[in-house]
């Protein structure tokens, strides 16, 4: 917890030990958060490979439909709004967890979940529509790259939704214990990071992809 970290530093300061070489190991919350941050960055490196593949294969449509003919920017705008608002709701859940408010935590998490599911429903509908029109992942290299990149992000959101429901249940059953708070910190980081990756997806895949 941050509070213990501050109290810890304060005690050292009173004892005149603040300038000593070691302050002891960092609190568990900081170590956990930092480790998960490293994981998220490695996840972004993985996504950058898919983005590179998409950018390289953008023109390789093998005589099939291009992005401009396939993408419906209006539904992408709705998806973007859903994910952005769910990221905001997740932030509200972080504040509720900090002040140990069960009611607001569950409300904010429920809103996050509903918006995440709405995003997934729209994306699934879009994928089913593309496959039904004969523009599945096996049609061209461009569509393979598209389905890999956007599908991988969708898989992350699906996993995040399961994690979200687990966090709601754990907070309900066990309360705001220190270990539950650490898990929730990691979940919130994960959810915000997915929104950052979606910003790159809608800009590069949909907006640039339909301009080419």
């Amino acid at each position: 917890m941050v509070a213990t970290a501050i109290a810890h530093g304060h005690d050292l300061n009173l004892l005149g030990l603040a300038d000593t070489e070691h302050e002891g190991p960092a609190p568990k919350r900081i170590v956990t958060g930092y480790g998960f941050w490293i994981f998220l960055l490695s996840d972004m490196v993985m996504f950058s490979c898919f983005f590179a593949a998409y950018a390289v294969l953008l023109g390789q449509t093998a005589g099939g439909p291009s992005g401009a003919e396939l993408f419906n920017l209006r539904s992408v705008a709705v998806e973007t709004t859903c994910l952005l608002l769910s990221s905001f709701a997740c932030g509200m859940a972080s504040i509720a967890a900090e002040v140990h408010s069960h009611l607001w935590f569950q409300i904010a998490m429920a809103v996050t979940c509903v918006l995440g599911l709405a995003f997934l429903a729209i994306e699934f509908h879009e994928f089913a529509d593309l496959v039904a029109r004969g523009a599945g992942p096996s049609r061209s290299a461009f569509l393979s790259a598209f389905f890999t990149l956007v599908g991988c992000h969708g898989m992350h959101v699906s996993a995040g939704t399961l994690w979200l429901l687990t966090m709601m249940a754990q907070v309900f059953a066990k309360g705001f214990r220190a270990d539950i708070q650490r898990r929730f910190l990691c979940f919130a980081l994960f959810w915000h990071a997915l929104d950052i990756i979606w910003v790159a997806v809608f800009s590069v895949v949909y907006l640039l992809g339909s301009a080419v």
């Binding site: 941050v2 501050i6 709004t81 809608f202």
Partner: protein
């Protein structure tokens, strides 16, 4: 919690943690949401309008996307340049280095190959 700034040794913060009152926290998320919505709306507008000089549109979309990712990092993930955040920023910088190497390198190499190593049928046409 605000007395943390008075200490000579500032403890690190975990990524995602923020210092300040509840009202400031909510305000921070609201500012982030507002900025992100404005940037998103701008990039969708730029992509579908005829009012902007067309060749500038891809650059504008990329710039808007990077700006929006910065807004998310600062207002949602709370990665800042404060002294208590050094480790998080260093890790982010390394991640960004790898991302730019992978994407920039792939685009560079593949465009080079496309120019210098066209497929065999096109090569035959060029040699004729």
């Amino acid at each position: 919690m605000s007395d943390v700034h008075g200490l000579p040794h500032q403890p690190d913060v975990a990524p995602g943690d923020e210092v300040g009152s509840i009202r400031l926290h909510v305000l921070g998320y609201l500012i982030g949401l507002g900025l992100a919505l404005v940037l998103t709306a701008t990039s969708f507008f730029v992509a579908s309008t005829d009012l902007v000089w067309q060749p500038s549109i891809p650059v504008a979309i990329v710039v808007l996307a990077i700006a929006q990712m910065g807004v998310h990092v600062v207002f949602f993930l709370h990665i800042t340049t404060g002294p208590d955040n050094t480790n998080n920023v260093m890790a982010l910088a390394f991640g960004l280095l790898i991302v730019f190497l992978v994407i920039g390198g792939s685009l560079w190499i593949m465009s080079n190959l496309n120019q210098n190593m066209p497929p065999m049928d096109q090569l035959m046409l060029m040699q004729r």
